[in-house]
Amino acid sequence: MLVDLFTPWLKPVKAKLTTVSIPFYWVTNLPARLGEWGQDNLVSRDDLLRENASLKQQVMILERKLQGLASVTTDNVRLRELMNSADMVAEQVLVAQLIGVSPDPLVHKVIVDKGSRDDVYVGQPLLDAFGLMGQVVEVGPYVSQVLLITDSTHALPVEINRNGLRAVVEGVGDLEQLALRHVSNTMDVQEGDLVISSGLGGRFPRGYPVGVVKKVERNPGKPFADVFVEPRAHLNRTRHVLLVFRDDSLATEVEALEQ
């Protein structure tokens, strides 16, 4: 036990052993899968038509936004080239599905259905459609474990979107709350500020939304203000998540956009 806690010797063994646990999560996942299947297959034609129409509308709106973004992206890249910046990475994503959550309420970990077969690696960031969720901490052949940003052992470098103020956001073991650490009383943090990942430390990509500042308590008697952040990602509701790969394919993307 102590060997496992304080040395890396058991890591490969544990990675192999995670495969053993898959059937258990598969079984406990059945009701959820059944529910999803029902939602997909047992709907009336009217509902489907309505959903289709609304999705088409949404695609239109998003495409219009994308047209605007295309020129902004190329502008941005050109400006960065002018500044000789190395910050030109685009990310590739892999869609994964949540198959289990840690049964221990103290540990905020989830299990996703992609492993080393899909080139998942330790330290890989995980997102959902709304924001950053966590990072991969253990990779098995078929599944991997992800530590959520709300776990009490997790910290993440961030910045405030409004003014670029850098800070560190820590989990406190509560799925609805994060804490912004070491923010002095005079720093410019307001309720409603969007907190995004700053990319410092090189583990998380820059610019993904992490959360929104919910409460700022400035107590003159304490050296730092208590700042609480509500995570943007739907940490206890999402089933479909994105694993982000880092690569340098933005250049080709820009070329494609320019044509």
Partner: protein, 161 residues
Amino acid sequence: MAVRPHNRWIIIFSFVAALTFGVLPMPEEVSWLRPQFVVVVFIYWCLTLPQVVGVISAWLVGISVDIVNHNVLGQHALALVVVAYICLLSYQRIRSYLFWQQSMWVFVMVGINQLFVNWVHSLDGHSAHPQQFLLPALSSALLWPLLHTLLERMRVRYRVL
């Protein structure tokens, strides 16, 4: 006369079922009330068949809990071994207790289990209040009469020896 093993797969089956219930997703609000199914099932077998289920099987069961729950290897194994040792010391007395007395005893046993699990947890940075980590012990104690009846029926039906 030596006892010939009979239908021992029932024991393994009950542990597998308990493990599966142990990882069933639960809503966040009640997740602290999840009974420790594996510990309760283990206590049952340890009380009824102490010659079959003992400290070594406690360690094996505990390790499989750690593997399935993705815990630190040995966390539940250590806790279950302690529970098994106390069970083996006192099974003759506990067998003669009434249901509610046994329930209280199960509360203490699962509480000891939780104590050890939480102790290892605090080594890797997570720790909980005693009021919190004793809640599973309470729900396990409430579950004991039900689970005991169920397993007893199964044992008699399949004549597990």
